[in-house]
Amino acid sequence: MASSIAQLAQDLRARKISAAELAQAALARAGARSELNAFITLDEATALVAAQRADAALATANAPALAGIPFAHKDIFCTNGIRTTCASRMLENFVPPYDAGVVERLRDVHAVSIGKTNMDEFAMGSSNENSHFGAVKNPWDATRVPGGSSGGSAAAVAAGIVPFATGTDTGGSVRQPAAFCGITGLKPTYGRVSRWGMIAYASSLDCAGVLARSAQDCMYALSAMAGHDPRDATSVARGLDNYDAALSSKLSNMKIGVAREYFGAGVDAGVAAAVRDALAQYERLGATLVDISLPNAHLAIPAYYVIAPAEASSNLARYDGVRYGHRCADPQTLEDLYTRSRGEGFGAEVRRRILVGTYALSAGYYDAYYLRAQRARRVIANDFSEAFKQVDLIAGPTAPTVAFKLGEKTADPLAMYAADVNTVAVNLAGLPAISIPAGFSDGLPVGLQLIAPAFAEGPLLAAAHQFQLATDWHTRSPGA
């Protein structure tokens, strides 16, 4: 489905196509591309009911922009009556009794969810290889990873199954798969989108986001997803900007900071070249490039890989085999119930992060790890604040490489973690950022990351949109 959301919305209103037909077509494409393993659950029955409702809404005036648009949810958002697995054996048969805030909001605007996408287990991973339901393949090259953790959402959008999909971004899990799959991925400001019903990995970093083929499509999804939710104490009570109107802002007075740390030793030459070309395009569009420094950028990976596992070790304590989720057969004692249910239910990476996080919070180590990581977090956030006194946006490569081979890094967790170098700092600072297609290296997509000050989603989307009006990288799609 190569059409933009705007085009589909127009076709729906012109009765060229119905929401039901769009949903059926999306389901059919999902079936045809099952080798990608992008979905954990496809739910045709629910989708068709939602599509009928969307068609009814479209028959009235003032139907919302997303009415009748098919999409997919990352399988981390709780869906009432539809199993929600977090790609874990632990939740293989878990059917939530309620809907996440994001799920409610997208249903309220009559967007039509066709199913739940594959992901790294509990959103822990950068390659989508840590899934109980198997790895997802990159639509550009089936031997490569789609990135993670929202790899299923990225592959589904890149393969044209759906025009957009929800994702979550704790350390780059929307932006990095968007970059690897040649699509646009938006991570909003922390607190802008409700976390209610979004299964927690690292609560202070987790952020719902969107993967789509353009900044404009991201804008439509964000406009529906964002807003205050009193059920989430970290949700911000602040009015929504008109993101649609913001898109048309020109770049003439915009200053874009180019952080030298984002072009460090680990960045592939082909990736750096594509990103530099994209930045040159920004100059042609009237933006001014400013060399800046984020001197504490090197602290981001170590800080992230303490804070996120620490929070995860506590967030995942509830999976104990007692009330829901995987329970081991025939437990002999309480200890046995816990040990085996958790040992069997969680995959290797999840177990690793729980252990790391437990260690980091333990008496005697808390100051050296958790508190130091929190101090690092503050100086990282401060780097951004200082930089935003000079510039409107900060740019760099989203990921240091293009999509790597399936299995290439699975034996080396540290190499895998290092791939998050340019994305995690943004989560530590709670800022909005977007990854947009910026060219190719070795025939594989390269992503440009733009980072904005808190709640500046409007200018961020505008900068991405203006670039996409002048370029066609985002319209390239892999052959089936």
């Binding site: 929600t84 996440a100 009193p230 989430d232 509830r318 007692v322 333990s362």
Partner: protein, 478 residues
């Protein structure tokens, strides 16, 4: 060697709110298991806690009442441990930055001493659920109705030196939290519970000995007995050359002993860290001022006023101020009567307390209202009935026979103050008992009461005792 016990208490007072600390579920006691458990209370994946602001005023009121510092920003932390009744695998509590810190409470002891007990902190936390070990065969049931109920944990410094002092402190806190309306104090329902940290050290030693913690003792009497037992056990152990193991112990009331629940070696490392789901809890000066303005006169201030302004004996004032409802009853009765504090106090602490006790009621449930009692006492003061008759009238009021005037009227109890009738009775008894009269006149003045009694008998108990006394005294002199 002589030993000094050192005791500190951790009191868990359930804050009386309609809904839980972080979910909208009801806190009402006694519902069917798991009917008051919201998604959060069973830790459904994806659920999030949102603080119930109603707990704030209650915590602030307690803090102000114990002269503590109220934190403008307090922080919820996660206390991590695995247990089936702890659905999230962590308890949300406050650790490094509690809402209330550095308070103190004056505790009046039975022997007249006043102890000033330092309250180190009082922090907000959620309660756990309940394991039902006996409800099912070969399985444990779980009830999450209690999970998430708001508690204020009040932590004293280790400054108490006997089981009696510890219980006096516990009672003072119990009075205070009920007085403030922040906790219903119901120990049977678990709304007010206590853990005791106990150690002993040689007299004169300043270093603390190794302590043990006695968990969840749920009556004043058992707290006292458990601490007493624990002190004796520790002294005995130390005198036998043993060492005390730092551990958590439980009290077995039936056997009157404490026993090991878990020792420090297998105690959890709780891995406290600030809860990332909850921003710091902000309290403004406006919040604090509003609570301060609404704060009732505190028990100690009221007790002092009863002694100093109303002239009541210390003992009466202390007893009246043991709970706010009793003190309020007393004040309503006294103001309706228009003074006469001592009479009101006698009646509230005497007849009323006895009647409540016998009927197993609290003062709020009294069958005789304070204004009704005042009307009865007014009849006594006017001389319409005697104090003795008034007790019968009170009993009739308690039995629901109507108000004082109606009962006095119906039963014809009005006191005889008519001098003629009284004099006739006096004449009659003087004539009837010549021997006693002679005896009296020979100097046995104790016989006055005999004559009063005989005259009162003739008057069927309705004679005005003061008048009768005076008349007899006069008449017997001749």
């Amino acid at each position: 060697m002589s030993w000094q016990p050192v005791i500190g208490l951790e009191i868990h007072a359930q804050l009386s709110t309609a809904s839980k600390l972080f979910s909208g579920a009801s806190t009402a006691y006694g519902a069917e298991p798991n009917t008051q458990a919201a998604l959060l209370d069973v830790a459904m994946p994806g659920t999030l806690p949102v603080p119930n602001r109603a707990v704030l005023d209650k915590a602030i009121a307690f803090g102000l009442a114990v002269d503590a510092t109220i934190a403008r920003q307090s922080v919820f932390a996660r206390k991590n441990y695995f247990y089936p009744d702890l659905p999230k695998g962590y308890q949300i509590s406050q650790y490094e930055l509690p809402i209330v810190a550095d308070g103190k409470l004056a505790v009046r002891l039975d022997d007249g001493r006043t102890l000033e007990v330092e309250i180190q902190r009082a922090h907000l936390e959620e309660d756990a659920g309940k394991s039902l070990h006996d409800a099912f065969h070969a399985a444990t049931g779980l009830d999450f109705n209690r999970a998430g109920v708001p508690l204020l944990e009040i932590v004293s410094a280790p400054v108490l030196h006997s089981a009696q002092d510890a219980v006096a402190y516990l009672r003072t806190v119990h009075t205070l939290v009920r007085w403030l309306g922040v906790c219903d104090g119901n120990m049977a329902e678990g709304s007010f519970r206590c853990d005791a940290n106990v150690s002993v050290r040689p007299a004169g030693e300043t270093k603390l000995g190794t302590r043990t913690e006695i968990k969840n003792v749920n009556s004043f009497r058992f707290v006292e007995k458990a601490i007493e037992y624990e002190i004796e056990r520790q002294v005995r152990a130390l005198e036998n050359g043993e060492t005390i193991v730092q551990e958590t112990r439980l009290y077995d009331a039936a056997a009157h002993r404490t026993f090991t629940m878990r020792s420090k070696e297998d105690a959890d490392d709780y891995r406290y860290f600030p809860d990332p789901d909850l921003p710091p809890l902000v309290v403004t000066d406006v919040d604090i001022d509003a609570v301060r303005a609404a704060l009732p006169e505190l028990p100690d201030a009221r007790r002092r006023r009863y002694v100093e302004a109303l002239g009541l004996p210390e003992a009466d004032a202390t007893q009246l101020c043991a709970d706010r409802a009793t003190a309020d009853y007393f004040e309503v009765a006294m103001s309706a009567l228009g003074g006469d504090a001592k009479t009101c106090a006698n009646w509230v602490l005497g007849e009323l307390a006895a009647a409540l006790n016998a009927a197993n009621l609290v003062v709020e449930q009294s069958r005789v209202s304070a204004p009704a009692l005042a009307r009865l006492l007014a009849r006594v003061r006017e001389g319409a009935i005697s104090g003795k008759i008034a007790k019968d009238v009170f009993a009739a009021m308690w039995a629901g026979e109507g108000d004082a005037d109606a009962i006095i009227e119906r039963r014809g109890l009005t006191q005889i103050s008519d001098t003629g009738a009284l004099a006739a009775a006096v004449d009659a008894v003087v004539a009837e008992f010549p021997a006693q009269l002679a005896d009296y006149r020979a100097g046995n003045e104790k016989l006055l009461q005999f004559f009063v009694g005989q005259a009162m008998k003739r008057l069927r108990g309705q004679g005005n005792p003061q008048q009768l006394n005076a008349l007899l005294r006069e008449r017997l002199k001749i």
